[in-house]
Amino acid sequence: MKYAFYPGCAVHHSSKEYGESCHAISRVLDIELTEIPDWSCCGAIDAVYSYKPLSSVALVARDLALAEKMGMDVVTLCSACYYTLNRTNKFLKENSELKGKVDAALSSAGLSYGGNVKVRHFLEALMTDVGLQKIKEKVKTPLTALNVASYYGCFLVRPAYLTSFDDPEHPKSLDDLVETLGASKVDYYGKIRCCGASLGITDENVMLEMSKNILLSAKDAGANCVITACPLCHFNLDAKQKDIESKFDIKIDLPILHFTQLIGLAFGIEPKELGLNKNLVVPNKILLQYARSVA
């Protein structure tokens, strides 16, 4: 299976381990990811859009135009990019006036976009193209000792008019994946609640409160770890966990893994190759349990 790969800025910067683990499991599953040459930032949900909507659409249209030349579906690791790219496709399809302006801007850079690029999340590609059966065949070490809370967040499942591969209220793709890997799924309150996203930069206290509720509800439900499918969710739950603990004077100590890291563990890939040494909440406890299931 071949895809045009749009990593998104976070995967190249603050969430390198997400990209590393994604490439590691892709090798096992015979997925070929070719990075879109010279891709640019998508404008991060509304960060650029709220300031200059037309510029934000044109910026993404450039990425889509570059991908169109490759003739493959685009796959991204970031839920925010997934949303932003799909939204741009929708805008260009429905608003001919906007499309005219964007086309003019693109042609000034010698590009054109015909509107034929399909944008998908890496998880979506795993679920629909690869299939759970094939993933199950590659599992070397079933993660039987782990209770995994799947955190879906926002843009993986919402809004339904852009992301139709899972249910927005009762998503189950990550939970199915967890069970396929031999672990037990955990049902909890926070699984589709927002983590605070970019409020972490502009309104940190609000974000800390939101992420705290997610983490505590997962912990109360008996989770050993949480898996995410978006670098921003992972950043807020993992990297900011220490800030949450000190602000609310509580102990959480819940390892947060990218879903690709969990798959990699079940595939028997070395933790270091999955970038597990880069997670800020050290996942030693899980690795110990993992070692037990190996033995």
Binding site: H12, S14, D46, P53, S55, S108, A109, R158, A197, D243
Partner: protein
């Protein structure tokens, strides 16, 4: 003699309480029609005030008006109040309200459009960091073609708050130790393309 403290009390409580959306503005339709033309605002008149948006909103606790109030205020033409509310900036764009809205009002996309309107009209907002964040983000993307978190953070951080600076420095250290802090920005190789596109769109947007 005793009741002398009473008037003071009511005055104070009225001050802190946000204005109730009760009286429709004379030119209410002007704002309603303006909103109807914005992305996300198409069905703003369809809102039947059920309150699912307010009940489901994860950032409601930090807003001055809840989403349901904003919807009513739009219907009543309260333009200034809507655009200067903290609500449009506290919204984290999670699409929970849209997902549950029985009338299909795309409140989340509308909030983005309202933020854009507030920035365009330079409405004074309660937290100045918010518009600054959007502008800085755009500038950084224009400069490199990619996002560069440290630069955005440094530019919007309040330099006078030493505590905040110290906390962020500590946080940066934690990331750096794990190899997750990219100190140098990555610039895309065909940067001229981005500049050409953004120059063209910026001209269009200035009109």
């Amino acid at each position: 003699m005793q009741p002398s403290t009473q008037p003071e009390k009511t005055e104070k409580s009225e001050e802190t309480k946000p204005a109730e959306p009760t009286t429709p503005k004379k030119d209410r339709w002007a704002f309603v029609h303006e909103v109807e033309k914005l992305p996300g605002g198409e069905y703003v008149l369809d809102c039947l005030q059920c309150g699912l948006c307010a009940g489901t909103c994860p950032t409601r606790f930090a807003m001055d008006y809840s989403p349901i109030q904003i919807m009513k205020m739009i219907q009543m033409g309260m333009r200034e109040e809507v655009l200067s509310s903290s609500t449009i900036w506290v919204c984290s764009s999670c699409y929970s309200c849209y997902s549950r809205c029985p009338r299909g009002v795309d409140i989340t996309t509308l909030m983005m459009s309202l933020r854009n309107l507030a920035i365009k009209e330079k409405v004074a907002v309660k937290k100045e960091v918010k518009p600054k964040f959007h502008k800085t983000f755009y500038e950084v993307v224009k400069k490199y073609g990619r996002m560069h978190e440290p630069e955005i953070l440094i530019k919007i951080l309040k330099k006078s708050d030493l505590n905040e600076l110290y906390r962020n420095a500590k946080f940066g250290w934690r990331l750096w130790r794990k190899g997750r802090l990219q100190i140098r920005p990555t610039k895309i190789s065909n940067h001229a393309e981005i500049l050409a596109i953004l120059e063209k769109t910026a001209k269009e947007e200035a009109q």
